[in-house]
């Protein structure tokens, strides 16, 4: 059995203005995994991360990191955690090298110029080491935040919207960094608005809405359990209406009347495709082309949040 590195048990947070940001959240995070937390703005993702890191005090519940309580044993838990915050919050007038070294010191580590050099080189920041932070571009600042979070060699890394506002190239670079960290055994908790990002790098996905975790599952399982496939059938000639005998398939006719879409569940023993094609032929509809399309994580996410909001 894989060991739980982080255990969150019935965690709640109500801010002084009455906003209930988290409601009895429970979640176990395993050592070495990458878990993506998805949710709309204000869902409670950042509050959850902030509590685990020690920035926000929980109203109730408990969190253990590697067996240590985050409040009673805060020195043990915090020294294991690196945090990349959502905002570009940096001291503007310091050099990159000094600022990364400063964070290393804050986390109780002795100065180590070689280690800081290695991180800066890994993140393509070495040539900027003497630059003043305010002179850097947004993307470079984002890299500095990652370098700072890694400066004390954490075994857990929280990435709160790490690629917000960065270009595609830099985003892909960051994914490579995350992959290298995973290879080194670092557990990564990621919040993101880019579902594509979660789809690309996460092992597990948790969906948060209104302060509650509504789904948590392996990404592959989520895709296969909740994912539906669509079969698009292009016709040679326009079909003005769906024939009565085909109503049982719940087909969608396109606006130009030249294609029909059939949704089916891949988990079912019978998808109904063979019968559908037979019935189409019986109705005299001539087929031009067939295409299948799989649900993305984004579609699943949107569906889950919508269902949760409706409830």
């Amino acid at each position: 059995m894989t060991q739980n590195l982080i255990s969150i048990n019935k965690l709640s947070k109500t801010y002084s203005n009455g906003l209930q940001a988290l409601k009895d959240v429970s979640l176990d995070i395993k050592k070495g995994e990458i878990i993506a937390m998805l949710g709309p703005n204000g869902a409670g993702k950042t509050t959850l991360i902030s509590i685990i890191c020690g920035i926000v005090t929980p109203s109730s519940g408990e969190v253990n990191v590697d067996g240590f309580d985050i409040i009673k044993n805060y020195r043990e838990t915090r020294s294991k955690i690196g945090l990349v915050p959502q905002e570009l919050t940096l001291e503007n007038f310091e050099t990159v090298f000094n600022n990364v070294s400063y964070t290393r010191g804050l986390y109780g580590k002795a100065p180590n110029a070689q280690y800081v050099e290695k991180i800066l080189k890994d993140l393509y920041l070495w040539d900027k080491k003497d630059d003043i932070l305010r002179q850097l571009s947004g993307g470079m600042k984002r890299r500095v935040l990652i370098a700072k979070a890694l400066s004390h060699e954490p075994s857990i890394l929280f990435l709160d919207e790490p690629t917000a506002g960065v270009d595609v190239e830099l985003r892909k670079d960051m994914w490579k960094v995350v992959e290298r960290l995973r290879e080194n055994g670092v557990t990564i908790i990621l919040t993101t608005h880019y579902i594509e990002e979660a789809e690309a790098i996460a092992d597990r996905v948790a969906v948060i809405n209104h302060g509650e975790i509504i789904v948590v599952d392996q990404k592959k399982d989520l895709l296969s359990k909740m994912g539906r496939k669509k079969l698009r059938i292009d016709l040679h000639e326009k079909a003005e209406v769906i024939p009565e005998s085909l109503m049982k398939y719940d087909l969608e006719l396109s606006n130009n009347k030249l294609s029909i879409t059939y949704s089916y569940d891949t988990q079912k023993q019978r998808t109904g495709i063979t019968n559908l094609l037979q019935d189409l032929r019986d109705q005299g509809l001539k087929l031009k082309d067939l295409k299948t399309e799989e649900s993305t994580l984004e579609k699943i996410f949107v569906t889950l949040v919508k269902e949760n909001n409706d409830n």
């Binding site: 890191c53 915090r78 020294s79 945090l83 919050t89 001291e91 400063y102 290393r104 109780g108 100065p111």
Partner: protein, 255 residues
């Protein structure tokens, strides 16, 4: 990890580095303004004022001017030190670090007090260029300077913690501390005031600080030295209590 020595060191050196980066503002500016006080009050006006307690007027105002600089610098350095990371958001990394509240306060206040003492020593040296300065009780002077630097650095830390904008941060040093120093006998002896205003002045705590330092310099004071030391320790304990309460509540820095 029982204590986070490297965390304390990181904050302390980080704050001292800010002092180095802003040397012109941090050091040259108070030296220049104090020099102007000596030129105007010590040399020009001082020539028309008779000796006070047997001390020339120029020399008499040295402890008051050092105290003025010490108080304003201790407050502004430390209040800025904690306010700036709060303002730009980088305070998150201190809150998320395995460092205790006590270690954090000690680092900020220690750096603020160090900067203040450096400035105090420079002011003392500067005053030697303008007037004759003798120090009758050097150990007492060092003790008082260190006590005042720590106490008001802590007070500055409190102001920085409670302020939510730059205006609030400058209100107390500008509207409270500076008038209290000027009205606290920094440039005159309380005997020179009418009886009513003498009584009013007894409610100004800065009077006791200035007189304490003046006693260390010249052995002359309007009060017993223990009243001065006692009032400073009382203010230090009050600052420690309020800072501890505010940090425990997480006010303005932790939700």
């Amino acid at each position: 990890m029982i204590i986070n020595y490297y965390g304390f060191r990181a904050i302390y050196l980080h704050e001292m580095d800010r002092f180095r980066r802003t040397l012109l503002q941090s050091l040259i500016s108070p030296v220049l303004s104090t020099s102007l006080y000596f030129i105007v009050f010590g040399s020009v006006i001082g020539n028309y004022v008779q000796n006070i307690d047997g001390i020339s007027y120029g020399s008499y105002i040295v402890p008051g001017l050092i105290m003025l600089t010490l108080l304003t610098q201790a407050i502004s350095n430390t209040s800025f030190g904690i306010f700036f990371p709060k303002f730009n958001g980088s305070l998150y990394e201190i809150l998320a670090a395995p460092i205790s509240t006590f270690e954090m306060v000690l680092a900020f206040v220690g750096a603020g007090a160090t900067k203040t003492l450096v400035i105090g020593v420079v002011i003392l040296l500067t005053s030697n260029f303008f007037v004759e300065v003798s120090i009758l009780h050097p150990l007492l002077m060092i003790f008082l300077l260190v006590l005042v630097a720590i106490t008001f650095a802590l007070f500055g830390f409190l102001i920085g913690l409670l302020s939510s904008n730059f205006e609030q941060m400058s209100i107390i040093p500008t509207l409270v501390i500076t008038p209290m120093v000027f009205l606290g006998g920094s440039l005159y002896s309380l005997d020179m005031l009418p009886p009513f205003w003498q009584t009013v002045t007894y409610f100004n705590p800065v009077v006791y600080l200035i007189n304490g330092l003046r006693f260390a310099f010249y052995g002359s004071s309007d009060f017993n030295i223990w009243i001065s030391i006692g009032s400073m320790i009382f203010f230090l304990v009050a600052c420690i209590s309020v800072v501890a309460y505010v940090l425990k509540k997480g006010y303005t820095i932790k939700s």
